[in-house]
């Protein structure tokens, strides 16, 4: 290996690491606020990429049917709950969101002509279709289990993951998609070619991380999410509903996932089940941060990215094995250095 190869591999590693970092942050956020280990995070990556690819191919993305289906399912649940408790007043806004929003999305997709729109508008539209799936999944799968144990929530996560992968296959089909790069520019730095897309991925990830940091440090809702993560009872006593905090954390996780997918779509071919492996690597990074520390998780993500790209050079058949094996020394190290706290619930 010479320096040039090392630089190339590092570049690859950092690009992937940036994506893993975003996913790791989303996983830490969701776990801290809701105690859900969000295995379906990766599905949002795939859905984001495939939705954008669908628009660019002039097809109606399967996301639309997911949006309509989940919306209808929630509407049914809400109606049943409202009829049982007699509180029909609250029904209007729930129905408006869960039936109205998918209807608006359908109107835009069918009446408009997304294939002819500029890339930026297509990206926004793809996000607008994928992000609401986050809170919808929360409403259906997790909200009824507000006080369940971490283990129960984990089992539900596995089920949600398998369901979403199946639905992904149904709606997007088995073939993969790749989207054109955001920018065709490329530069040569020190003998290594850096593509515009690389800069887009790293730059967008960095900007997103800064935005998230400011959100958590400065905004009232950001602080409310942190408060819920630190002390749920305390947060409830301030009037911060655990359900709303949970929903918001799922909105953020879905947005981060979808955006990650859109960013990597020009670099790798994305299939309906591609997200799972990407999400798992984000999970390894999140574990490095103990599912609690954002900066350590982000650093862990870069480490995972670098480890992956270098091991694909030396032992490409084992690259996944090597990456996932990282979890063992990390867990040993964490179990030796951190005080173990029994789960209270």
């Amino acid at each position: 290996m010479d320096l040039q190869i090392a630089l190339l591999l590092s570049q690859d590693g950092i690009v992937n690491g940036a994506i893993y970092a975003l996913l790791a942050l989303a996983l830490v956020l969701v776990f801290a606020v809701t105690r859900v280990i969000f295995i379906p995070q990766g599905e949002f990556v795939a859905f984001g990429a495939l939705t954008l690819a669908g628009f660019q191919a002039g097809k109606v993305p399967g996301t639309l049917w997911l949006l309509i289906g989940l919306g209808a399912a929630i509407a049914i649940v809400e109606v049943v709950i409202a009829m049982r408790s007699g509180a029909l007043r609250r029904l209007t806004s729930a129905l408006g969101w869960n039936l109205g929003y998918p209807a608006v999305a359908a109107a835009v997709v069918f009446l408009g002509e997304p294939v002819s729109w500029p890339l930026f508008v297509q990206v926004v539209l793809a996000l607008a279709m994928v992000v609401p799936l986050g809170p919808m999944v929360y409403r259906l799968a997790y909200q009824p289990l507000l006080s369940a144990s971490v283990l129960v929530l984990l089992i539900v996560s596995v089920a949600v993951h398998l369901t979403l992968v199946g639905l992904g296959l149904l709606f997007f089909g088995a073939e993969g998609s790749r989207t054109p790069a955001f920018s065709e520019a490329s530069f040569e730095i020190g003998g290594v070619v850096v593509t515009g897309q690389t800069l887009w991925v790293v730059g967008a990830s960095a900007v997103l991380i800064v935005v998230l940091y400011l959100f958590f440090e400065r905004s009232l809702w950001g602080k409310a999410l942190r408060a819920t993560a630190i002390n749920r009872t305390g947060a409830r006593l301030m009037g911060i509903s655990s359900t709303q905090a949970g929903k918001l954390s799922f909105v953020l996780a879905a947005a981060i996932g979808a955006l990650s997918g859109i960013l990597i779509a020009p670099i790798t071919t994305v299939y309906y089940d591609t997200g799972f492996l990407i999400g798992l690597k984000g999970f390894v990074a999140a574990i490095v941060g103990g599912l609690a520390s954002y900066p350590i998780a982000a650093a862990g993500a870069i480490l995972v990215g670098l480890l992956e790209s270098f091991s694909s050079f030396w032992a490409s058949a084992f690259k996944e094995v090597i990456v996932f094996t990282l979890i063992i020394p990390v867990l040993v190290w964490r179990s030796l250095t951190t005080r173990h706290v029994e789960e209270e619930e």
Partner: protein, 245 residues
């Protein structure tokens, strides 16, 4: 003139599983009044406050607040209506700064569209100057007394109509207890209704207008504090042999 009733608990029963922790408890708190609930450990005092706040499901009975009697008591809704609880464990946000903790105290007010947070924070800082000195410090690094000040300050940020406190004197030095009680007396003057659960019966009965004695989940005695202070049973069980005061 009688002040309006802020909180009216009627016939409240709460159980954990099959064990009933509160039986048919009724009590009333009026505006500008401090009402104390005293009683031994395990009598159900914390359960009472949790049930009123909506943290625990109610078995039977009603909780009327500001003239309305919600069928289902939800914490968020009670907070929005102007009820605040300072819990026994304080439940502060330890990894956040003192100022962030205070800001979150006004979370519901902000959501309801009130924009007077800065002024309220100024008032809290003038009540507890110590908090102002420590505004950038993490809540988890405060001393016990400062934590209690922060818990009370955070509750005040919500500008409550009813302030409930669960054992505010627990584990605190007498000087700080006096300071906190002094603050409660000041709040009463401004028209806030206060429901104070205390083990320190002597201090509580000195401060409060009315008192209830809760024993094994039932109201054993009730009346104006001055009467309770002279009641031989209260003197024997809760005020000790040291005389009336």
């Amino acid at each position: 003139m009688e002040q309006p009733v802020i909180l009216e608990v009627e016939d409240l029963s709460v159980g954990y599983g099959k064990v009933e922790a509160l039986h048919h408890v009724s009590l009333k708190v009026r505006a500008g009044e401090i009402v104390t609930v005293i009683g031994p450990n395990g009598a159900g005092k914390t359960t009472l406050l949790s049930a009123i706040m909506g943290l625990l499901p109610i078995g039977a009975g009603t909780v009327g607040f500001l003239g309305s009697t919600p069928r289902e008591i939800e914490v968020e809704r009670m907070v929005a209506m102007g009820m605040t609880l300072v819990p026994e464990k304080r439940e502060l946000f330890g990894e956040m700064s003192v100022e962030d903790n205070l800001q979150l105290g006004a979370f519901m007010r902000r959501r309801l569209g009130h924009r007077d947070e800065a002024a309220t924070m100024g008032e809290v800082y003038s009540i507890f100057p110590r908090l102002k000195e420590r505004r950038d410090q993490l809540a988890g690094t405060l001393s016990g007394g400062e934590r209690q000040m922060l818990a009370v300050g955070r509750a005040l940020m919500a500008k409550p109509k009813l302030l409930m406190l669960d054992e505010p004197s627990l584990g605190l030095a007498p000087l700080i207890v006096r300071e906190i009680f002094h603050v409660l007396a000041r709040l009463r003057k401004s028209g806030v209704a206060i429901l104070l659960v205390e083990q320190n019966a002597r201090a509580a009965l000195q401060l409060a207008d009315c008192g209830y004695v809760l024993e094994t989940g039932e109201i054993a005695l009730a009346g104006p504090s001055s009467e309770l202070r002279d009641n031989p049973r209260v003197v024997e069980s809760y005020l000790g042999f040291g005389g009336k005061h």
